[in-house]
Symmetry: C2
Subunit: 188 residues, 2 copies
């Protein structure tokens, strides 16, 4: 089954291909650059963008909005993680966390899928903590400073497959894939 | 002349009243909470929101989007200044600037005005620099850490009238007021 991933981020496409490619989905990147609203709710952002795309593109697609939420920074950088990464980088987060012991954080993602008729959303989260120093060179964004629960390595020290098994995006993709499989069975 | 200011921020309303009230404008706050898009361009954000409001509200109104741009932080917090203020406060900016000598920054504002038929935008900017420590208790947001060019006091050490004479918002309001006055003369 062909499915379009509306994003300008090739790293995300790579992760999606690794995750649901082996399950029979051909992920095709499409860069439509939909407007994203300012909101502290990832699902609101994803649904608004998906609605915009659905009015311009008739094939099945999904898009995703993700954020990195640091507890002791009141959830910063949150839904504006991409912009904060572009301006401050992960070193900005480490600087803000300087001397702070409470280092818990989480990644969250919401996927909005449109089958040509309706929009359905799927969420995924992963808790963990922030390192004192960056480690690893895989992945992208804040991966070098985040260690997921139950692990000793940062996301940037894992392969895309390993990251996909525990990551926010991996979990959201898994839910979408399960729902599509079930839908496929029901539709027959 | 009655004019609605679409905003949830009472500090901004107060500044607008002080600035254009004496010039014959009755500023009325209206909180419609339009969606704001994520963009690094203030004008795009303001125009998108103004279009949304104009489809729901038929009286003359203006709204405003403003940002605080720190040069050595690549423009951060920029268009997301309100969100960054809510999560990190101005102390977060001071922490990010710790040990950094280049402290130039600017405030920018874009006003989008709708007369019932068309939208017109007005920009205002003020350059200055970031203090080492917060000073003053007037104003709001990043005012306690910003000293405008040619001044020795922070925005938070000035009265609303004084701030309005040099501030980004004051300058944008001034342009709007001049344009409205001219339009009024032409229309007669």
């Amino acid at each position: 089954m062909k499915i379009h991933f509306i994003t300008g981020n090739e790293n995300k496409v790579e992760e999606a291909k690794k995750k649901i490619g082996p399950l029979g989905f051909e992920v095709i990147q499409k860069n439509l650059n939909p407007p994203e609203i300012q909101s502290d709710n990832l699902e609101d952002v994803a649904l608004f963008s998906a609605k915009w795309v659905s009015e311009r593109f008739s094939e099945p697609f999904f898009l995703e909005d993700a954020g990195f939420f640091v507890d002791s920074l009141n959830g910063f950088p949150g839904v504006y993680s991409a912009y904060v990464f572009e301006t401050l980088g992960y070193m900005g987060i480490l600087r803000l966390m300087d001397g702070i012991e409470e280092r818990s954080a989480r990644f969250a993602a919401v996927i909005a899928y449109h089958d040509g008729k309706q929009i359905k959303s799927f969420g995924g989260e992963v808790s963990g903590h922030i390192t004192q120093e960056p480690r690893g060179s895989n992945g992208f964004g804040y991966d070098p400073i985040f260690i997921p629960e139950g692990e000793s390595r940062t996301f940037a020290e894992m392969s895309a497959e390993e990251k996909g098994r525990v990551s926010h995006r991996g979990r959201a993709l898994e839910k979408m894939q399960e729902w599509l499989k079930e839908k496929d069975t029901t539709d027959r």
